[in-house]
Assembly symmetry: D2
Homo-oligomer: 347 residues x 4
């Protein structure tokens, strides 16, 4: 009963098989000039209904985020992000490293989302062009957020309107983009470029791949230096087909969406079961595949004793013990039910 | 007949199978706290006869080199390397990026090897502790070199003696370490720490893996900051088993050496055939799996027409056209023979 | 009637004369190995009652701050500072540049001071040694603050206790240290190392010098790399006596304190006059030489029309117009009185 | 008898007086929006016959060089320079720091000058746009060189032709530009932009100022980010008049040229006297104010005993002891004659 993280899951058989086939297909041009890499870009142009986008595979979510951001800000720029965002707390200053020293400015907001009013106020300061002040350069949002919620297209458009008014770029950390998309139920384009997103870190690793993300630029000009930046970061794979074959299978025949739908469904099943129990309460609405929930001690103890695994999480409410549970593309429904049954018994 | 590069090859079936097995084995702890990663380190301790070494998997050769070097020099340091070295010409300034601005100083020498006398002279300058001058911090050598030659243990020890006299660290870029080792025929320890190497970038990608390298620190203290540096570079894999399962299979049962032996043998077979032809001449001795050779125009034309693929290479001798041919772990001997037969016919 | 900034003032005659004398005294060893530089360090050891301190002159406050901070944090570190601090908003990301990409984390608090409870809470997170998270490395406080207030020794000690508990260094941006010291009225040591400060950026430029600051390390080990960092930043002066002669005169015979006392007295005189007027209100208590005050429109208009110069300042209270007035070492009391008389007339 | 360095000299009285006047002239706008700074730019436009140039004062030669270079190269760029250049050996990797990790590539040549053929060959490599290779971005030359020689306008034009063919920028480190100009005897424009120089670090510190250099951009577009870079480096002076008043006096009424003429004349006087002595030989032609000369032991010993001060210098010829002597704007001719008389007596 492992609900620790979707990055502890294995990989989807179709993705494994795609990699095997790619690597037994003889020689291939290196560094991305291969059929799999080209195909991934073509697929994404269709999926996002955007024939001009450019797409670059990388292996980790941190690499995707920081390479994307490094195209959005000068070293003296400021990137506005939620204080709980991955780039702020989980990347060991990789954003500052790749941007040669830009500044992350926190914009707080409910449920892991940037408060649009607060952002508008912060961007309306008279700092533009003034040499002393970090220059507002980009807004970075996480979809789904680190609190397991999803921005609606309208919410994104609201933030992007503020950003554009002042010439900032909008980056989306989409490590769990498929989960958000599956929840919102709109077209991929509506959740990205039509809502004003300039560049998207689109994740596959947490959703059935082994290690594959793709940086998708809707604004081609923004990608001008990307390839030099990726190489300089040590993120250009010689045998790129390792990444691209994964991504090709991931985006083929809707696998990415099917995986996300399953993970989300398992989360809803967990939520339904847990919130029915006395003394539990959600920290945030559950939109994607992460659940943040306060559990009474006796329920948690019973689960732990039964071998269930999940992380503790800080709660703002004094005396409360909260936890994070994450489901994945391969979470077994019978495991969910077993988990719930133990919790129910302990109630 | 593709002799363009060993990084255009596929992957060894045992490595593919190991990855498949790892990713169908259920959940595993993320970020390297998994059985495969631990096993790789244990294997390397045995192979290098060094129970204190620490080993960190990364995905690319550039990442391995620059993360290793970033542990060897302060930002105001100088790294001494051959002008043909990968870190100098093929990594888009990644070394300077990861070391926060150190300086690469070129030390020339025959056949891709640093001239020991020249290095000794350069290190004997009165710059130590003087705040104006870049501080000599590390020597980086490539094994096998970019010219396809291999340093002997004695040659390495000679360079390391100079380095140690002045407190410099010795890094080895071993993207083709297995090929060099196979040529020299000594124990891995004799070619590394017993000869004075402090940290080794040990490659698998070019020799049968998909994307896997491992940074091996023989000096544990040097590794103190490595994990923060790897994370900050975006090179920490959440599903680390992708890298470790490859490496585990690579180092098991001598696969790495068998692969290298085959690649080297194919190179020798090519050399034997080609140098027997009138008008050909080697640019450098062939120790590993790279051949640099001048070919008469009619031979080259015939080969090209027959579909053979290999890169042109700059030659110092006026009027001469030179080329690079690379063999790999899976180079087919019948392909070599066909190639030679075409060349012979054209002679 | 210029109250725009203390950095618009001229220089004190004794400082000008000291520079003239130093530069007509014949040749002198370069790069700081000169009598003036040595004398400055000796003076500071006496003034701060700390025979082991080391002191390095630099020319700008930004240089002093960021070179000091670069000795306090690794690139993956976090520096905790007030959101209004100079390093956060007025240095164009110089801190991130000099620290190779550390992160500034804002800790809010009243009157420009870090809230000690909030800092303690933020430092008590389980991030230490965890490779994903920026590592808490330093706390930076400003004395006097950007709101014109001064920390008491007890307040500093409170913050330093939190910092030390978790192994963080404490930096003080003392661009207006003399003004704070003059207000508090204690010994320099009590406001610095005895209260837990590890390194101080001690300013002279705003208080009578032309361009001179000195970085004072109370923790000698922390200064180990300083000289390389200063040189690498382009901040090592060949004719160092330009900086040191200014500082020597500044610290001789209490000139620095006399200058600060005068500036503070002029600020108090302004405050007394202005707060007596109807409709005015201070944004923060006035401890040093900066006044933040809301003025009724008719008063401001009258002052402006009379040629008075000072900056507008954002106010949190809707509808209110606030301003910043700064006095300096050479502010003329008759100018203050003229200003007050105009304001009084307009009341 | 101090011939150690021109940076050990004092300052010219006219420069000292200009600074005194500037700082007793009341308040002035800060950060360079002052009359002295504007005047310096106007003077330089006249002197260089270039109404479009922009000029930025900074305090040190290293700052001038590295800020200028940071406008000429991306982080993945290569800067071609002589192995003896100040940026390569005397700036503790400041160029790499300010350019976020570019690479310095050494181009050797006689007498401290880049060999034009060698540069042309190095720039003619097929690396442009190839993501693996550092991208050739700038050539940096030193005028006068570190060997005391001066490039002619034709030599500069030769290098600039190579640079422009491949889209590289041409930077000139002019720490001793006035000495070179005085030797060559042409118009300042002929030695700079008319010969293809894009940006010049123009020094005053070594030639009569206390600490003042000015970065002169002949290509205005290149300066676009300069002001943010200067601020981020901590090199923007609040009381900028300290730098500008020095520069204003320096460029007024030909003081800069008079100072350089004197220093050069003193160097020629020394050379004439020394080369007349048996056993002496120059390492390089003497164009500016630096002399590199081999001296017989008995002459050196006699000089040293008499208290003469100058630095030893490495010589390529075995058994030879060489030295560097530097004259300055204020070198006393009677001191030169005394020095020569001691040498003559010892012959």
């Amino acid at each position: 009963m492992n609900f620790r993280s979707d990055n502890e899951a294995g990989a989807h058989p179709l993705i494994l098989e795609a990699v095997r086939r790619a690597f037994t297909a003889g020689t291939a041009h290196s560094y991305g000039d291969d059929e799999w890499t080209h195909k991934v870009e073509r697929r994404l142009r269709e999926i996002f209904d955007h024939p001009g986008l450019v797409a670059y595979p990388v292996a980790t979510g941190t690499a995707a985020n920081v390479l994307a951001l490094s195209c959005c800000t000068p070293p003296w720029g400021a990137i506005f992000c939620h204080p709980a965002s991955h780039i702020a707390v989980d990347e060991a200053n990789a954003p500052q490293f790749y941007t040669s020293g830009s500044q992350l400015v926190h914009v707080d907001g409910k449920d892991g989302k940037i408060d649009p009013r607060r952002l508008a106020d912060m961007l309306a300061q008279p700092v533009y062009g003034v040499v002393h002040h970090p220059q507002p350069a980009a807004v970075s949002i996480t979809q789904a957020t680190e609190c397991g919620t999803a921005y609606s297209p309208e919410e994104i458009a609201g933030l992007s309107t503020s950003a554009r008014r002042h010439g900032l770029k909008l980056h989306m950390d989409g490590a769990r983009f498929a989960n958000a998309l599956s929840y919102i139920g709109c077209a991929p384009s509506e959740l990205t470029w039509r809502a004003g997103v300039d560049v998207l870190s689109l994740g596959a690793t947490k959703n059935g791949a082994m290690a594959a993300e793709v940086v998708v630029f809707f604004d081609r000009e923004l990608a001008r230096e990307f390839e030099f930046r990726r190489k300089r970061g040590g993120h250009l794979f010689s045998k790129m087909r390792l990444l691209s074959a994964q991504l090709d299978a991931y985006f083929a025949d809707g696998l990415w969406l099917a995986n996300a739908r399953h993970a989300n469904a398992m989360a809803r099943r967990l939520v339904a079961g847990l919130t029915a129990l006395k003394g539990t309460s959600l920290l945030y609405p559950v939109h994607a595949n992460e659940i943040f929930i306060a559990l009474p001690a006796h329920i948690h103890d019973a689960l732990e004793e039964a071998g269930a695994q999940y992380h503790p999480w800080p709660s703002d409410r004094p005396g409360e013990r909260a936890f994070r549970l994450v489901t994945a593309f391969d979470t077994d429904p019978t495991m969910v039910d077993r988990f719930l049954s133990i919790a129910k018994t302990a109630e």
